[in-house]
């Protein structure tokens, strides 16, 4: 725990971070920007895990280990997403979201 900082302030910061990520996820038109937004959301979640672990249950390490897993999954996800984006770019020469809507109907 950080001296003089309450859990409320920390959680407020992570919440703001989380919603900024969601805002970016919805409004950005580029696949890579969407990916960046996803990273923001993931980070907000990871920090939350750590904060709750540290403030409420300082004796155990569950929250922290979960954060490590989140970072690992994020790495895997990013690698895959980037490879898909590159492949897409080769196929349709675009990474705009609106060009990738074959899910339609």
């Amino acid at each position: 725990m950080i001296e003089g900082i309450s859990i409320y302030e920390l959680l407020t910061v992570t919440s703001i971070l989380f919603f900024i990520g969601i805002y970016g996820f919805i409004t950005r038109k580029n696949l890579i920007s969407v990916l960046i937004s996803v990273e923001l959301i993931l980070n907000a979640g990871a920090v939350n895990f750590v904060v709750i672990n540290k403030y409420l249950y300082p004796d155990v390490l569950q929250g922290m280990i979960f954060s490590i897993f989140i970072i690992a999954v994020a790495a895997a996800e990013t690698a895959l997403a980037i490879s898909i984006i590159i492949n897409l770019y080769r196929k349709i020469s675009s990474v705009e979201v609106r060009d990738v809507e074959t899910m339609k109907y």
């Binding site: 969601i22 996820f25 919805i26 409004t27 969407v34 979201v97 609106r98 809507e101 074959t102 899910m103 339609k104 109907y105």
Partner: protein, 639 residues
């Protein structure tokens, strides 16, 4: 009795139908003809064997011929009300087996020559087999529902065979007419079956016809408009029978049915299917007789008598020989109905019933013969019209002699078959009602006139300038003629009354000499009139028709019954009721369905846009939904 052999009688034609129907294009006409004839030959042999077993080996049990039933339960409705499938052997079904198989065999043999070279040869034989199967099933039926099923099957096969020349417009129209008219009558039959089934709780002939049984001793479980419901049921069933047997006013399909090939007319529309109505009344005779003291039977008698007279008058004026024979058939069927209608039940009281069956039997032989002869003539001159024929006795001696024998038989000249049965009918009617007897004897005279009118018209008269010199038909066609001619001459000597009577005991038949003399005298009188008028084409005929004026025109136009039907159907049914129903169907029923369909389409077009395929749109919806739900839950919890 060996039931498995009896069951084979209908099943063999069914198998033949399936084989010929399925292999229609694969086998040649020679093979299909052979299969058809050998199938029906087997059935015929089995039928005669059954008759021998039944009358000879089994014989009478305690003074009466037994009713032998072998059936399996097919559908169960209640404990007693069920539908069986099986065979019922009693004197009249055995007799019908003989009639159907014999005539069918002759017609099959005849058709091999008559239909030679026709494109649909195999199809024709398969339909004939289907019909034969259905007819066997009908006569062997053990209950009302089974008879109804086969009743419809003969209707279908009749439809198929009338419309055999399906490229000919008139044949198609005739087939539809026959089907619709008999179908309309069958509606009555069905309602009658349901009425009787509902109030008696059984469809079984044995239970329904038991004269000492619970049903016939308590024949009024409920009444409607002053009559027992069972009487209504029987009247409705008679409507069905009248439709098949071409009784007035449901006869209009029979003359048109002559559009079918002539062997079909001989088999279906003269000898077998059209007597199904008579057979049906005979099958239910104890019910008709005992329920409400035979009220329904009175209706049968009067309808029969009127039809007999009505048809005989029209037959006098027609020029198409097949139509003359068709009206003649209708007239003779009226005779049979009349005889049934005046019959009693016990012992020799049942003379009417016996004579009706006897006449059915003899009529099948000589009317089939008449039709086959007509077919032979038509085959030779390629026309149905009387005015195209004349002097054919020189060209076709076998046909001529056969036709003469059949004509003598139908006119009631002894010793030919028709005399014996017709005489019994007249005796039975005379004992019952002198007015009906008057009609009967009048019809006997008219019969002699119209049949000898066409006889003289075809075989005597003037020699016409034929394009091709007419010649005798091939032996495959003359052989059945000879067989049927022999039968027509001799079957009258069968002591029918000892085999068939309503209570199955049989009785000693005898010829009532004075009655016979009167009948023969009337027949000879008719023959004489025909001789004078038609043996040589003379002026007398046209003078006579002029003298009769309106009456002749009416009879020639078949008393405008067809026009009446057309008026009723076209102007009242089609324009009035059907138009309204069609409007309702198109606008209300279809409209509702279309509204549902169209609104679904419109709605889906509208909401299709929501499925944009863009992940971010979905994410937006997801986030807003989650947030809203979260807010909702938070305030529900905190409050």
């Amino acid at each position: 009795m060996n039931y498995s052999l009896i069951i084979l009688i209908p099943l063999i034609p069914l198998a033949v139908f399936l084989v010929l129907g399925l292999l229609n294009r694969k086998i040649g006409p020679a093979v299909s003809g052979l299969i058809g004839v050998s199938g029906i030959l087997l059935s015929t042999v089995l039928s005669f064997y059954t008759a021998y077993q039944y009358f000879g080996v089994v014989g009478k049990v305690s003074g009466a011929y037994p009713t032998l039933v072998e059936s399996v339960v097919w559908m169960n409705f209640t404990d007693t009300l069920r539908i069986d499938m099986g065979v019922l052997i009693d004197p009249i079904s055995v007799m019908m087996l003989i009639v159907v198989s014999t005539v069918s065999l002759m017609v099959h043999i005849y058709s091999r020559g008559y239909m030679k070279g026709d494109e649909g040869y195999t199809r024709f034989f398969s339909f004939l087999s289907l019909f034969t199967f259905s007819m066997f099933g009908l006569v062997l039926a053990t209950n009302l529902f089974q008879i109804y099923i086969f009743w419809e099957l003969v209707g279908v096969s009749s439809y198929l065979l009338i419309g055999y020349y399906y490229t000919k417009e008139s044949a198609v129209a005739a087939a539809k007419k026959a089907f619709i008219v008999t179908r309309f009558a069958d509606l009555g039959f069905l309602i009658g079956i349901l009425l009787i089934g509902y109030y008696t709780g059984t469809y079984d002939f044995g239970a329904l016809n038991d004269p000492g049984g619970a049903i016939l001793s308590n024949w009024a479980p409920a009444s409607f408009m002053g009559l027992s419901v069972l009487t209504w049921g029987l009247i409705l069933i008679f409507i069905g029978g009248a439709g098949k047997s071409a009784m007035f006013p449901l006869h209009i399909w029979l003359p048109d049915a002559m559009e079918g090939p002539t062997p079909v007319s001989a088999l279906i529309h003269a000898a077998t299917m059209v007597v199904a109505g008579v057979f049906l009344v005979a099958r239910l005779f104890p019910m008709y007789f005992f329920v409400e003291d035979g009220f329904a039977l009175q209706i049968v008698a009067f309808v029969g008598a009127f039809s007999a007279l009505f048809a005989a008058v029209i037959a006098l004026t027609q020029t198409d020989i097949k139509r003359v024979l068709a009206y003649s058939t209708m007239s003779q069927l009226g005779y049979m109905m009349l005889a049934l209608g005046v019959s009693g039940y016990e012992g020799s009281e049942g003379l009417g019933y016996m004579s009706s069956m006897f006449h059915l039997f003899t009529h099948a032989m000589f009317k089939a013969l008449l039709f086959l002869c007509a077919g032979s003539v038509i085959h030779a001159v390629h026309s149905n019209e009387l005015k195209d024929m004349g002097q054919l006795r020189k060209y076709m001696p076998v046909t001529h002699i056969s036709f003469l024998i059949a004509a003598l038989a139908i006119a009631g000249i002894p010793p030919f078959a028709g005399f014996w049965s017709k005489d019994e009918i007249l005796v039975a009617v005379f004992e019952h009602n002198t007015f009906l007897y008057g009609i009967g004897i009048l019809v006997a005279g008219l019969t002699a006139i119209y049949i000898f009118r066409i006889y003289f018209g075809i075989f005597w008269g003037k020699n016409k300038a034929y394009e091709h010199s007419p010649h005798e038909s091939p032996s495959s066609m003359t052989f059945p003629l000879v067989v049927l001619a022999v039968l027509s001459a001799t079957v009258g000597f069968i002591p029918f009354s000892s085999f068939i009577s309503p209570d199955r005991t049989g009785f000693e038949g005898h010829i009532d000499i004075p009655m016979a003399i009167v009948a023969v005298a009337v027949a000879l009188l008719g023959l004489g009139v025909a001789w004078i008028l038609y043996k040589k084409e003379s002026e007398m005929v046209s003078r006579l028709t002029d003298r009769l004026g309106v009456l002749y025109t009416w009879a020639h136009q078949k008393f405008y019954v067809d026009e009446l039907y057309l008026f009723v159907t076209k102007n009242i049914l089609f324009k009035g009721i059907a138009a309204g129903a069609a409007w309702f169907d198109r606008n209300i029923v279809d409209g509702t369905m279309n509204l549902i369909g169209n609104s679904t389409v419109v709605l889906s077009r509208k909401i299709k846009g929501m499925q944009s395929g863009r992940v971010q749109d979905y994410a937006m919806a997801f986030v807003s939904g989650t947030v809203l739900l979260a807010i909702l839950f938070i305030y529900l919890w905190t409050s």
